[in-house]
């Protein structure tokens, strides 16, 4: 049940990071515009890793999480073990990105914050799922 909820929540993260990836690739929100201002966060050097948009890495992570959580929800026990290291890595990345936004770039981007919220929720769900099983 908890894994099912986690899978659904990760879909929100997946949609969010897909949106950010496309925005990044097409330069829509990276440049400054008359109507919407500009994103200091997405145009910062921290938005890419070796030239790849960070949001794309997020999308892959959410998709892997979704797949593992779906399998776990359908009774594939072994995959639930993989969720713990994955969600731990995602949570640490989120903390680092939050730190960058708060103290280095000194601007927050709302879609990045949504992703942070989703990852935190997923971390809580995975911890809770492991606790209840034990």
């Amino acid at each position: 049940m908890l894994y099912g909820i986690a899978a659904l929540v990760s879909l929100v993260g997946l949609a969010d990071s897909i949106y950010l990836t496309v925005e990044h690739l097409t330069g829509q929100s990276v440049r400054c515009t008359i109507t919407s201002g500009c994103s200091e966060v997405l145009s910062s050097p921290y938005a890419t890793v070796r030239g790849y948009p960070l949001a794309a890495l997020g999308a892959i992570a959410y998709f892997v999480f979704f797949s593992l959580a779906t399998l776990a929800a359908f009774g594939y026990r072994s995959t639930s073990k993989l969720l713990t290291p994955l969600v731990a890595a995602m949570f640490l990345t989120t903390l680092w990105l939050f730190y960058l936004q708060a103290f280095v770039i000194q601007h927050f981007c709302q879609f990045c914050l949504l992703s942070a919220l989703v990852t935190t929720t997923l971390t809580a769900l995975v911890i809770f799922a492991r606790r209840t099983k034990q």
Partner: protein, 230 residues
């Protein structure tokens, strides 16, 4: 059935995700950026002829006969413009004035940026004393220092002093009609070319997609254009 159902769900989500990426990317690339299609066959080597003229003479680095002209519509307060600045500067040095000409057009995004208009005024006022590019570099390179300042006037006057301007003259020019008119004309040219954001760069009259403004991609584009106009 229950054993394969999760795999079906995963496959459906993967398919939907890939479809969304493809669809959104296509929708974005189909959004018309320029009102009229740029003529592809004509070998434009000077200032593109379409659109309003913009302020004359334009602020330009490099030879007027250079085969490649980059025309940047910029806002000194815009962070991605600040990031583009060192890229253009190093390309100008690398390609040389005989090959590459760079034009700067004022496109301050008001009211998105509180000080963009003041910065455009400062650059144009410096231009009246023949030091537009010195002020241009100063503004971009110290963007972070004035971006969040409450009053930018003393900061810009400091820059004026640093680059060797007559500060009293600079203060007078800052509010002059000629400065205002230049900014207005550049903005008018930008709007007539369909510019809605900064930085927007045209290479020989054709808009360079924002994602191609990365150093390697832009260099490759310029080299291609140089090869086409030997």
């Amino acid at each position: 059935m229950k054993r394969i159902l999760p795999f079906i769900i995963i496959a459906v989500v993967l398919g939907a995700g890939l479809f969304t990426v493809a669809y959104l990317q296509r929708a974005a690339s189909e959004t018309p950026r320029t009102p009229s299609p740029a003529p592809s066959a004509s070998p434009v080597a000077s200032i593109p002829s379409q659109g309003e003229a913009g302020a004359e003479p334009a602020h330009a680095l490099g030879n007027a006969q250079a085969p490649v002209t980059l025309e940047e519509f910029g806002d000194f307060e815009c962070p991605p413009c600040g990031l583009l600045h060192p890229i253009l500067k190093s390309l100008a040095g690398e390609m040389g004035p005989a090959n590459l000409r760079i034009i700067f057009r004022e496109f301050p995004l008001v009211p998105t940026h509180a000080h963009a208009l003041a910065a455009a005024h400062a650059a144009e006022a410096a231009g009246l004393q023949g030091k537009f590019w010195e002020m241009h570099d100063m503004l971009y390179e110290h963007q972070k220092d004035w971006h969040e300042a409450f009053d930018v006037r003393p900061i810009f006057e400091g820059y004026a002093k640093n680059i060797g301007l007559d500060v009293a003259q600079f203060q007078r020019d800052n509010t002059s009609e000629i400065v205002e008119r230049r900014i207005f004309l550049d903005g008018k040219r930008g709007h007539s070319l369909g510019v809605t954001g900064t930085p927007t760069v045209f290479m020989n009259g054709k808009e360079v997609p924002f994602e191609s403004l990365a150093p390697d991609k832009l260099k490759a584009l310029i080299n291609n254009e140089l090869a086409a106009h030997p």
